[in-house]
């Protein structure tokens, strides 16, 4: 697989991404970037303690991130399959899309028929987007073909719905593997589908390094085939500053064409409040308290 898709220069990648963290983005550019981040966000709640009420609150925040600032709505609300029906009720009539994780998220270690059935159920209940997990066990066994077949089947079941393929980079061991898995997925994806870094449920999450390997794979695939595949980093992106660094990476690797919600998303839960906090700081000139924002962990 490695020889087929090429290898990654690990030192080069870490040198490259170190530069992204050194850009000074302030004032008007910062505000522009953060508004962009809001519009690209998949506002997520994936917890065992999710309730219909919590999902409803999340959806309201997805439509109107902040009452006093004139902000775009987020791209999608991302929930577990059992919560899709509630999210659909809240978001019908709004431009915010309903995304659901499926295929036995986060481990993917369930019988194949159950995994695919989960996709069908989520779609039937109104999901616009499906975030699937790949079979990492099969991938590490060298059964790349099987992984690819599974992705192709899910893409077929999705029909007009958008598919995002979670590689779970923290379990792929090497950067070469991440590149290979990216290509495996992209070869069977349709234009407008996404590849995604992580589930957010493992010890390590989306880093600028793994993100860079994936967007370079997207660039190389686009140059070879002309098929644009979207990118979604997820997990561990909690601060506005981090999110701007990811945007810099995208702009300097894939270009402006990818700085749109149809080609780039952030999967995050607490990021939105930090972005709002920074935007509010730019607006009023003083740092606001984090507990002043709804759904915040330290809210009253």
């Amino acid at each position: 697989m490695k020889s087929r898709y090429g290898t990654v220069d690990a030192v080069g990648v870490s040198e490259r991404v170190a530069k992204f963290a050194m850009r000074s983005i302030k004032g008007v550019s910062k505000t522009w970037g953060l508004r962009k981040v809001v519009s690209m966000m998949d506002l997520t709640t994936l917890e065992g303690k999710d309730t219909p009420g919590k999902v409803a609150a999340l959806c309201r925040k997805a439509i109107t991130p902040h009452v006093e600032m004139d902000l775009p709505h987020v791209a999608a609300a991302c929930v577990y399959p059992a919560m899709v029906t509630y999210a659909r009720t809240c978001l019908t009539g709004s431009p915010v899309r309903v995304a659901s994780v499926a295929t036995a998220f986060p481990a993917g270690q369930s019988p194949w028929r159950l995994r695919i059935e989960e996709v069908r159920r989520a779609l039937a209940q109104g999901a616009d987007e499906i975030d699937m997990v790949i079979n990492r066990g099969a991938f590490l066994c060298g059964e790349g073909g099987r992984v690819q077949e599974e992705i192709a089947t899910v893409a077929e079941v999705c029909g007009s719905a958008t598919l995002k393929v979670i590689l779970e980079v923290s379990e792929l061991e090497t950067l070469d593997n991440i590149r290979a898995a990216s290509f495996l997925a992209m070869e069977v994806l349709r234009p407008g589908d996404f590849i995604k870094t992580s589930t957010g449920k493992t010890s390590s999450n989306a880093t600028l390094e793994t993100h860079q390997v994936m967007i370079e794979a997207i660039r190389d695939y686009f140059l070879a085939t002309g098929v644009p595949v979207g990118m979604k980093p997820a997990g561990g992106i909690r601060t506005a500053k981090q999110s701007l660094q990811f945007l810099v990476a995208v702009k300097e690797t894939l270009g402006d064409a990818w700085l749109v919600p149809t080609r780039y998303r952030f999967g995050a839960s607490s990021l939105l409040n930090d972005v709002l906090r920074q935007l509010e700081k730019e607006r009023v000139g003083a740092y606001p308290a984090s507990y002043g924002f709804s759904e915040s962990e330290s809210a009253y």
């Binding site: 003083a286 740092y287 606001p288 002043g292």
Partner: protein
């Protein structure tokens, strides 16, 4: 060995449990004999980082028992005592006041820490109450810490003035972001090293150095900071009050003379100014 190169210390601030130089990478010199010591000139961003660290440590510090907080403050006194001579020398550097000897100032600082260490598990007995009510309820009032607080130390009396403002706040369970004397910051640099070895959880006391005029507006307007205790000029006090209004911060000012060695009654009043009362009505019987 006949000759050793002198090994000089890089002055660093103690913030978020780490020894930092300013994010701005700027320093300013203070002179001592023929030497210049380069003190970090902290920026607004350093204030913001310190506030985040303080907010993160709030629950840890608040949930320590009063007894444990007292033990930790006593340990801080032990740390200062062991470095009495070094602190004395730092306080003596260009000391503006001649009426207090550096030796007296350091000793008084240490004694004041022990005084507040004692208060940690006692202020609740003095400030809490069981309230008489005309119904079948057990009604009582307890004191809880206000939250992240800021301290702006007086320009003179660089050690005891700073400690006199920090101690009542941490005694009550509040994490603190403190701005040391701008003109005489060196004792605060040393104090940071002692705080780090005193079992105080990281982020509970964050000591920044720099120019007061740069940082006052940020400290006063930051929404996460719930209280502010300062020993400043009348003009600065006005500036602070205006900036603090938007976030309805609790602001108290204290004359420089009163920052040192308060009486027990004064100490208790200072502690109580940064506590929040919680009253509970508990039903009695069936």
């Amino acid at each position: 060995m006949t000759h050793r190169s002198p090994i000089r210390k890089t002055p660093k601030c103690y913030s978020g449990g780490n020894f930092i130089r300013s994010e701005s990478a700027r320093v300013y010199p203070i002179r001592h004999d023929n030497l210049a010591v380069h003190i970090p000139q902290c920026s607004r961003k350093d204030v913001r980082n310190a506030v985040e660290a303080a907010a993160k440590s709030a629950s840890t510090w608040q949930n320590r028992s009063g007894y444990n907080r007292g033990q930790i403050l006593y340990r801080l006194a032990e740390m200062l005592e062991a470095r009495h001579a070094e602190l004395r020398e730092a306080v003596a550097w260009g000391a503006g006041r001649r009426d207090v000897s550096p030796d007296t100032e350091v000793s008084a600082s240490i004694d004041m820490i022990v005084h507040f260490a004692g208060w940690c598990d006692k202020f609740e007995q003095c400030l809490g109450s069981v309230n008489p009510v005309a119904s079948s309820h057990f009604c009582f009032t307890v004191n809880e810490p206000l939250g992240v607080c800021a301290v702006i130390a007086p320009e003179s009396r660089p050690l005891i003035g700073l400690l006199g403002l920090i101690l009542p706040l941490i005694t009550g369970g509040n994490p603190v972001v403190a701005l040391a004397s701008g003109k005489r910051p060196y004792p605060a640099i040393l104090l940071g090293e002692m705080l780090a070895t005193s079992d105080l959880p990281g982020g509970v006391v964050n000591l920044l150095t720099g120019f007061h005029k740069d940082l006052l507006p940020t400290l006063a307007s930051h929404g996460t900071i719930r209280g502010l205790l300062a020993s400043v000029s009348t003009d600065e006090a006005r500036e602070i009050q205006l900036a603090a209004a938007e976030s309805v911060k609790r602001v108290h000012f204290i004359p420089e003379e009163e920052t040192a060695s308060p009486s027990p009654a004064q100490a208790l009043r200072l502690i109580s100014q940064f506590l929040e009362l919680k009253t509970v009505w508990h039903p009695l019987g069936a």
